[in-house]
């Protein structure tokens, strides 16, 4: 049963993880790790619609990944006695299969451990998270596919061998071990049943629900405080800017000195450079859009952003039909101090250089004087403290 649950749900975690990678724009070399050879989805343009697309993929990846922890542990609990089989190897085939199981078990536990530490900002492992989690996923996926191909017939025959309804109805006193199986998974001398099968499934399902209940608040604004044990269960203060921050201005080295009255936005298009101050930006046509902002670390929020359409800025720079744009931040160092946007991400009517949020000026932590917000774009590519935007024309 646990195997069946994982067979259905783990592919969803794998696919949403790969989609998150695609959302970062690997064609611009800005998905991490940048060089993955053929281990990726076929290249495609990450769409801007629906606006909640990235919120959904990353939310599912992280939340489902957490909810499945009890199922993975229960599955391992049911098969771990096999590890201590004696003699450890009877044939070459068995040796190879046991090695592939190390990749399977090591893989899933490695992915769970690195993922959980990453979303809670505890980089105890000391290596690059993106590289490890991405390639770890492929090691696991290969072992998972092979395991499913080999064991699917066993799963089907095990489920068919007895009536699931009968097993679920059986009282504890009537609960017996399964008949011996060809893989030797069933205990040879089982102890008396201390729980019904119904109870064991309810226990694992209940633990999954408990984890889900303590996690989902990171992705749903009205339930935010229910994520009692996770970083994004806390909203920083109240007011229009009282929603979670991804990178604090202090950490980015951006302060009042760079963002005060002398701040200017540079718009480049070919040889032309236009320079605007914040008042000039505010005097341009303003557009308001309700858009989610989502972080790959498993949290998101929906806010009302107001600012200048990116396509208006492109026209101002003399590139009304850009193929791409590079947005640079005032932040000098840092992995995400610039981002490349594709043509459709600039031209979307809701793609903004936001100056205000929820009717107030952006706070410094949310990117004052100006930040990018584009539908369905990963949060870290919605560049904060924008310094310049360079629009590229087709043949430039």
């Amino acid at each position: 049963m646990y195997g069946l649950a994982l067979l259905v749900s783990l592919p969803l975690v794998i696919v949403t993880g790969l989609l998150d990678y695609a959302a970062y724009g690997p064609q611009f070399g800005q998905a991490l790790p940048s060089d993955v050879g053929w281990l990726r989805l076929p290249p495609f343009d990450w769409p801007t619609r629906p606006a909640w697309l990235f919120r959904l993929t990353q939310g599912l990846h992280v939340t489902l990944g957490i909810v499945l922890v009890p199922v993975v542990l229960a599955k391992l609990w049911s098969v771990t006695p096999k590890l201590f089989d004696w003699p450890p190897a009877r044939s070459l085939a068995q040796v190879l299969e046991r090695l592939s199981l190390l990749l399977l078990v090591g893989g899933i536990l490695f992915q769970i451990a690195t993922g959980l530490l990453n979303i809670q900002y505890a980089y105890l492992f000391g290596f690059d998270f993106y590289t490890a989690h991405y390639f770890g996923a492929w090691v696991f996926t290969a072992a998972f596919v092979v395991h499913v191909v080999l064991k699917l017939p066993r799963l089907v025959s095990a489920l068919r061998s007895r009536s699931p309804r009968g097993e679920l109805r059986a009282a504890r006193a009537a609960t017996r071990a399964e008949p011996a199986d060809p893989d030797g998974l069933v205990a040879a001398r089982p102890g008396p049943a201390t729980e019904t099968r119904r109870g064991a499934l309810a226990l694992v399902g209940g633990l999954s629900l408990l984890l889900g209940a303590l996690t989902v608040g990171q992705s749903l604004d009205p339930l935010r405080r229910t994520a009692l044990l996770l970083p994004r269960g806390r909203a920083p203060g109240g007011g229009p800017n009282g929603f979670p921050v991804n990178r604090a201005a202090a950490a980015a080295g951006v302060g009042e000195a760079d963002t005060g009255r002398q701040w200017r936005l540079a718009l480049r298009g070919g040889q032309r450079t236009a320079t605007l101050d914040r008042d000039q930006l505010l005097s341009l046509p303003q557009h308001t859009a309700e858009l989610p902002i989502a972080c790959v670390e498993g949290w998101s929020t929906r806010q009302t952003w107001t600012g200048v359409r990116l396509r208006d800025l492109a026209a101002l720079a003399g590139v009304p039909a850009p193929v791409s744009a590079t947005v640079r931040s005032l932040e000098r160092a840092g992995l995400f101090n610039q981002a490349v946007l594709a043509s459709h991400q600039i031209l979307d009517p809701d793609a903004l250089l936001a100056l205000r949020v929820n009717g107030a000026d952006l706070s410094l932590d949310h990117g004052y004087p100006a930040r990018v917000i584009v539908p369905a774009l990963p949060g870290v590519h919605c560049t904060k403290w924008v310094n310049s935007i360079e629009f590229r024309a087709r043949n430039a």
């Binding site: 281990l39 922890v69 078990v105 290596f127 009282a171 209940g206 633990l207 408990l210 044990l229």
Partner: protein, 161 residues
């Protein structure tokens, strides 16, 4: 032909399809290993990968299997196999203990307040250790389980011996 497949089976242990699948699995892993060899701290990745399996199989699993066996012995569960006559406290202890342990494992960095500086840089907030929250949730689970146990005992029809 049949003889040669039979020979292969005897030498390898099972059919050719199995070997093809194994080779495919190790080819992907081998390709990734070659790619990661030059990576900084690649040896730490390997350590964590193998370590994750070892810690689970040789530490976590024996610890909770032993704890469960001790609990069963303490409550004398195995001595009265299948005796439906008494309401066992076993699962009323197992359930909140498992839930509390699971929450601790999953939300460990928050509970122990790990990674304070990266947390501050990322969120703009100082980390509050969630230890007291975790203790409160675990205590609540034990309490609910105990109340449920009490209700089960009191509802049992009195039977003369």
């Amino acid at each position: 032909m049949r003889e040669s497949t039979g020979g292969f089976r005897a030498w390898y242990g099972t059919g050719l399809r199995h070997l093809v699948l194994m080779v495919a699995c190790f080819a992907v892993t081998g390709w990734i290993v070659l790619r990661l060899v030059g990576e900084p701290r690649a040896e730490r990745m390997l350590l964590w990968f193998v370590g994750a399996a070892v810690v689970h199989d040789l530490l976590l699993f024996p610890v909770y299997a032993t704890a469960d066996a001790a609990l069963r012995r303490l409550l004398g569960v195995d001595a009265h196999p299948g005796s439906g006559a008494r309401v066992s406290a076993l699962n009323h202890i197992r359930l909140p203990a498992l839930a509390g342990g699971l929450l601790f494992l999953v939300y460990l960095p928050g509970i122990l307040g790990q990674g304070g500086s990266t947390y501050l840089a990322a969120t703009g907030q100082h980390r509050q250790p969630y230890l007291s929250r975790w203790l409160a949730i675990t205590a609540a689970l034990f309490l609910v389980s105990a109340v449920w146990y009490a209700i089960r005992i009191s509802r049992r029809p009195c039977r003369s011996p």
